[in-house]
Every structure is written in structure tokens, then in C-alpha cells.
């Protein structure tokens, strides 16, 4: 009775939507981590990005300005993080986590202060609707589902390709990776470790803010407290799974998105399965995939040590 092919397509189509904000945030975090800094504030930054995107999108009635506002907010949080962790040499875990709480609190604070606690449905925000490319829509089955996505998703995919090139084929990418592998050696060679890290963290923050803006403007068209619901943390997982390589991050995000979507579709199709079990599926899978990825990937194990050495070393 079930057409598995159709089912799969539908699951994947929905999975792309789930994956998109994860991908965007992960693409930013990848650069931060490649440069040797773990940014634990993403979850809060995403919330802040969502709030700012909604607020400014509603005020200016322009979603792009909303996204920009979200990115700026995220950039500031990233800046604070790198300042505390790099310039002041504080432990990255505490700087990241305290900024996570700060950014989240700020998102709720700003949202209430600027909109009052009224329903967001009174505020109209123009959104990013799926782009209907007639030629693509004609394609049977794939058309209305997988190939019917909004502009930001297409931009993200292009971004993945751009970043892959930047990371592995440009001087900038080389510098980032050098700083992440061995900051003292990089310093000796004349690379300004501080500048590289500042840029990477600000970029990472901006992308996290963008991811939040995406959640607010591309699908929901609203801001809801706590709407990021743990996605920032998943993004961190995806970065590590993707071994900090943008293309592999895309794969990781898609896998997570598809599994999440699959869990929901199974929940609908087979309600006798305990739903809590299905809801843990994405996390269990992430751990399993992580283990597999870590095992065989050419991960420079030095990368982990880099963080810790970093906390003690660079002066």
C-alpha cells in the first residue's frame, strides 16, 4: 500500500527544510572551530538572530533587513566570545555558555520590550516563500517537494560550494587551518592569529544569527520564545561530524534533517510506536554517526588538543 519511493521523496523534501538552519549555523561554526575556537553560544545566538530578524523585518517590512539585523546581532555575540576567550584567555566553555544564556535572555528581552507582549500575529512580516520555478515544478514527484524550496536554501547550497573553495583552496582558508592546527607555528610564519580568530568567530556568530533569522522568517514568519529548541547544539554536532569541511557538513545536516523528518513521518504512519522513542532517534543517530565518522575520518586529532593547548598557551 505504501509507495516507498514517494514516501522517501516526501521525507527528504521535508528534511531539507529541517536541515537548512542547521546547515547555515554549522557553516559558520565550522570556520570558528577550524581556527581553533569552540563556540558554544550558537543556540543563544540563533535565538537572538530570530528575534532581531523578526523585529526588524516587521519594522521595515523587509525580510532582508531582518536577516541583516539578525546577522549583526550574531556578529556582536561572536565578537564578545572571541574577545573573552582569545584576548582575555578565558576558558572557551564558560565564555560560550554564558554568552548562550545572555543571547537567549536578550532575545526574549528585546522581543518583549519592542513588541510588548502581544501576539506576533498582529505584526505582519514578509517571509521567504518557496520559489516556484515552473520548469522545476514540472518534474514529477521531485518537483513539488524537493525542488520547491525557498531562496535561502538555494543560497545556502551555493554558500557551501563557495566556502569549500575558501576553506581548501584559498590563502585565507589556509591561514584558518594553520591557526587551528598549530597557532604558535602559524604565528612564527607571520599569520596574525588574533585577526584570523576574530574574523572567524564574528563570521560564525553572524551565520548563527542568520540561521535564527531563517527559522523566524523563512518558515514561521513569527518569533516564539524558545523556538530554536536545541538546534544550535545540533549544529555543533554537525560541524564535528562534517570534519569541518563544508561539503561534508552539508551531508551531515541533510542526514540529520532527513532522520528527524523520518521520525515524524513514522510517528504519523505508525502511532503504535512509542513516540518518545522516535523523538530520540535523531540524537541517537547523531551519536552513532559521530562515532563512525570519528573512527575512520582523517580527522587531525591535533584539532581537539588545539583547543585545550590554546587555553593555556598563547600569550
Amino acid at each position: 500500500m505504501v509507495n516507498w519511493g514517494d514516501f522517501a521523496i516526501v521525507v527528504v523534501g521535508a528534511g531539507i527544510g529541517i536541515a537548512a538552519p542547521l546547515l547555515i549555523a554549522a557553516l559558520g561554526e565550522a570556520f570558528a572551530e577550524r581556527s581553533g575556537m569552540m563556540n558554544l553560544s550558537i543556540e543563544g545566538t540563533m535565538s537572538l538572530g530570530a528575534a532581531l530578524a523578526f523585529i526588524f523585518g516587521a519594522i521595515t517590512q523587509n525580510p532582508w533587513i531582518g536577516l541583516l539585523a539578525g546577522m549583526l546581532g550574531g556578529l556582536v555575540i561572536g565578537l564578545m566570545n572571541v574577545w573573552m576567550a582569545q584576548t582575555l584567555h578565558l576558558n572557551q566553555v564558560v565564555t560560550g555558555m554564558s554568552l548562550y544564556i545572555f543571547a537567549y535572555g536578550l532575545s526574549v528581552y528585546l522581543f518583549r520590550a519592542i513588541t510588548g507582549h502581544t501576539s506576533t500575529f498582529g505584526l505582519e512580516v514578509p517571509r521567504f516563500k518557496p520559489i516556484e520555478i515552473p520548469a522545476l515544478l514540472q518534474i514529477p514527484i521531485l518537483g513539488p517537494t524537493i525542488l520547491n524550496q525557498n531562496l535561502l536554501i538555494y543560497i545556502s547550497i551555493i554558500l557551501v560550494l563557495i566556502l569549500e573553495v575558501v576553506m581548501f583552496k584559498t590563502t585565507l582558508g589556509l591561514k584558518v587551518r594553520a591557526v587551528g592546527e598549530n597557532p604558535s607555528a602559524a604565528d612564527n610564519v607571520g599569520i596574525n592569529v588574533y585577526t584570523v580568530r576574530y574574523l572567524c568567530l564574528m563570521y560564525g556568530g553572524a551565520m548563527a544569527g542568520l540561521a535564527g533569522g531563517y527559522i523566524a522568517l523563512a518558515e514561521m514568519g513569527l518569533f516564539f520564545e524558545g523556538m530554536t529548541a536545541g538546534r544550535g547544539w545540533i549544529a555543533i554536532a554537525i560541524v564535528i561530524f562534517g570534519a569541518w569541511s563544508p561539503i561534508r557538513i552539508l551531508a551531515g545536516a541533510l542526514i540529520f534533517g532527513v532522520i528527524d523528518s523520518l521520525a515524524l513521518h513514522i510517528m504519523v504512519a505508525a502511532p503504535q510506536v512509542p513516540f518518545q522513542l522516535l523523538l530520540t532517534l535523531p540524537y541517537v543517530f547523531s551519536i552513532a554517526i559521530l562515532v563512525v565518522a570519528m573512527k575512520r575520518a582523517a580527522l587531525p586529532a591535533a584539532l581537539f588538543k588545539t583547543y585545550r593547548r590554546e587555553e593555556r598557551q598563547l600569550g
Binding site: 516526501v10 521535508a14 527544510g17 529541517i18 522581543f111 518583549r112 507582549h117 502581544t118 501576539s119 506576533t120 500575529f121 527559522i215 518558515e219 514561521m220 514568519g221 513569527l222 516564539f224 520564545e225 524558545g226 523556538m227 529548541a229 528527524d260 523528518s261 515524524l264 513521518h265 510517528m267 504519523v268 504512519a269 502511532p271 503504535q272 513516540f275 518518545q276 523523538l279
Partner: protein, 355 residues
């Protein structure tokens, strides 16, 4: 370097104090009640587990409280997000805090606070307490459990959905299967099957109430499974679910309150628990010294001062009336009348049937 820093700090402090002194006075902070010979102003407090912007469980009572404040001149206080920033263990402290601030009626709008409310109520017999309770909860003279049973309007919604559906599949979802949620979901299915025994009803629980994206994704999944009208019983998950329904071009039956105004073209009817009127009514009774130590079960048969208060089925607005076929309108009207007259007795199911 030091001196510069000191000067900067002094300047900031001075600016801060200056700015503060120029500020208009703050909102209703801790005011000293003027001593008069009249009875002290009646103070009502509302303690909520979630956010007052959640379009549902917490926002509706908050709005009801504010309306009561305006209508009856009550002094009010509220505490929100108890379960977001804390745990059920915090209720005890919060309730006692309100008592110490002289509040005469404290409403705790969560089902997890029963033990805290009971303990504090026992310790403070002169203060009224109300909480989201359950059938057969024992009461003490100053403790009022109230329960919004939405099963009857949910039944009507089921009738509506079954007849509106063109695909023969409809859906209902909520967060976690506990009593008032289960009652609604099951009643929805019963109503649907009564109208069309062959209807396929998808029932799902997604474990959370406040994740709009998950609600959105679930509704999308239900739509993918063929449902063309979905009933959401939650707060944040409804907010997202409505967006998902809109995306997929299917109908949405609102829950918790009146969600028709959120997306008028998508949310065609709504099942309301009447939380706003419930809290409003409790506050009103307090203002009029008519509270009694009993439990209030709110159903479609609850009348207070001659008015129906509580859960209700909110039908299509005039603007959407032409989207609803006449036979559906008739069936809904009949079901409503039958329930009100007692001809139909909607069973109250509070435990999710194991499949």
C-alpha cells in the same frame, strides 16, 4: 592607565545615576498600600508555567486576568515561565511569596503544582488558592481546583472535520498524553467517527508543547500522509502547526483558545478551553466575595451567573462561511444542540488508550 579607568568608571556611574533620576517613575512596583479604613484592595496573583506570549495555555489566562483587573479594579500580579526558568519545586516558594505580599487569591495555572498549592493553602487558610486540578481532587475550604474539559467542543470539531475532509483522513496532535489533552484528542476521534465511521484519524503526540517547528513539521507529515484537516491541542506547537497547514494548503482546527485570527484562511474553526473566561470568572467571583471551596469543572454545561463559561466550539467566521458546505453546517449545529441538551453524552476519556 589606572587613573583613566577610575575616571571612566566615575563618569559612567554619574551618568547612570543621572539617567535614572530623570526616568519617569516605574510601573506598578511594590507600592505601599495607603492606609485607609476601607477594606484592603483585593489582590489576585496568577502563576504560570510558560510564557504569556505562547498563544495558548498561559497567554489566555493572563489576558483574562488583565480584563478582570480592568473590570473590577483588582490589583494583580503575575509570575510566568516557572517551568522555563525553573522546576515544579519552585511553585512552593512563589506561592508563599505572594501570600507574604498580601495577595488574597493566588491562582496556579499548572497541573504539576498540586502538592505545592495544597501545602501552602493548608498553611494559609485565610487566602484563596486555585489551581489546574483534576476530577475528584480533594478540596480544603480555601482551595479550588478548576478543570477545563474540552472534550465536548472537540467532539463537535471531530464532526466538522470528518465531514469537511475530502481525502478521508484527518489528524489530531498534542504534546503529551495527559488528562485534558487526551480527553480532547479522543473526543475529536469519537465525533469524527460518529459523523463518518470510515474516517481515518491520525493521532500523534510530539512530546513538547512549545516547539513551533516541531508542530510545523508534524502537520506537514500528516499532510503528507493524506490528512486535509488537522486539530492541534497545544500552544507553541499550534503556532507552528498553523504555518505548516498553511504551507500545505490544508485546514487547521485551532486549540486551547481562539486561534482563528492567527491565520483566518487556514484556521477555520477553533476548540477553545475558555481559559481566559475561566480565570476572568474566578477573579470576578473573588472580587464579589462569591468564591467557594469547591472544584469547578468547566464543560459546555457550566453556567455561572446565567452565562456559559468555559470550553466552547468556535465555528467558522462569516468571512469563511461560504467555504463550509451546508451539510457540514447542519451537522455541527445538530451536534452542538444535542450536546447542550444532553442528547449526546460525550465520554470523558482521560487515559490514552494503549493500542
Amino acid at each position: 592607565m589606572q587613573s583613566i579607568a577610575i575616571i571612566v568608571i566615575i563618569i559612567i556611574a554619574a551618568l547612570g545615576l543621572g539617567a535614572y533620576s530623570m526616568m519617569p517613575p516605574a510601573g506598578p512596583g511594590p507600592t505601599t498600600t495607603p492606609t485607609t479604613t476601607a477594606a484592603p484592595a483585593k489582590k489576585v496573583a496568577l502563576v504560570m508555567p510558560g510564557s504569556i506570549t505562547d498563544h495558548g495555555w498561559d497567554q489566555e489566562p493572563y489576558e483574562g486576568l488583565m480584563k478582570a483587573k480592568a473590570d473590577f479594579g483588582l490589583e494583580v500580579g503575575y509570575t510566568e515561565e516557572v517551568m522555563v526558568t525553573g522546576t515544579p519545586a519552585d511553585y512552593d516558594r512563589i506561592l508563599r511569596d505572594y501570600v507574604s505580599k498580601g495577595f488574597g487569591f493566588v491562582i496556579c495555572h499548572d497541573f504539576l503544582c498540586k502538592d505545592a498549592v495544597t501545602a501552602v493553602a493548608k498553611d494559609n487558610p485565610t487566602v484563596w488558592f486555585a489551581y489546574d486540578g483534576a476530577r475528584f481532587d480533594p478540596t480544603i475550604p480555601n482551595l479550588i481546583p478548576y478543570i477545563p474539559w474540552g472534550h465536548e467542543p472537540a467532539y463537535i470539531a471531530g464532526v466538522f472535520a470528518a465531514l469537511m475532509s475530502k481525502t478521508g483522513t484527518i489528524g489530531a496532535y498534542d504534546g503529551i498524553p495527559i488528562h485534558i489533552e487526551v480527553a480532547c484528542v479522543e473526543a475529536f476521534e469519537m465525533g469524527a467517527k460518529a459523523a463518518n465511521p470510515n474516517i481515518n484519524v491520525l493521532k500523534n503526540y510530539i512530546g513538547v508543547w512549545h516547539d513551533p517547528k516541531k508542530g510545523h513539521d508534524l502537520v506537514v507529515s500528516m499532510a503528507d500522509a493524506g490528512a486535509d484537516i488537522v486539530y492541534g491541542v497545544g500552544d507553541g506547537i499550534n503556532v507552528g502547526g498553523i504555518q505548516g497547514a498553511k504551507e500545505k494548503g490544508i485546514w487547521f482546527v485551532g486549540g486551547t483558545g481562539d486561534q482563528r485570527s492567527m491565520e483566518p484562511d487556514t484556521v477555520i474553526v477553533s476548540v477553545s478551553w475558555g481559559l481566559g473566561p475561566i480565570i476572568y470568572t474566578l477573579a470576578k467571583l473573588y472580587a464579589q466575595d462569591k468564591l467557594a471551596g469547591q472544584s469547578y469543572e468547566f464543560t459546555m454545561h457550566t453556567y455561572i451567573d446565567g452565562q456559559r463559561v468555559g470550553p466552547d466550539f468556535l465555528p467558522w467566521t462569516d468571512a469563511m462561511a461560504d467555504k463550509v458546505p451546508q451539510n457540514v453546517k447542519d451537522a455541527v449545529a445538530k451536534a452542538t444542540a444535542d450536546i447542550l441538551s444532553g442528547a449526546i453524552n460525550v465520554p470523558l476519556i482521560t487515559v490514552a488508550p494503549s493500542s
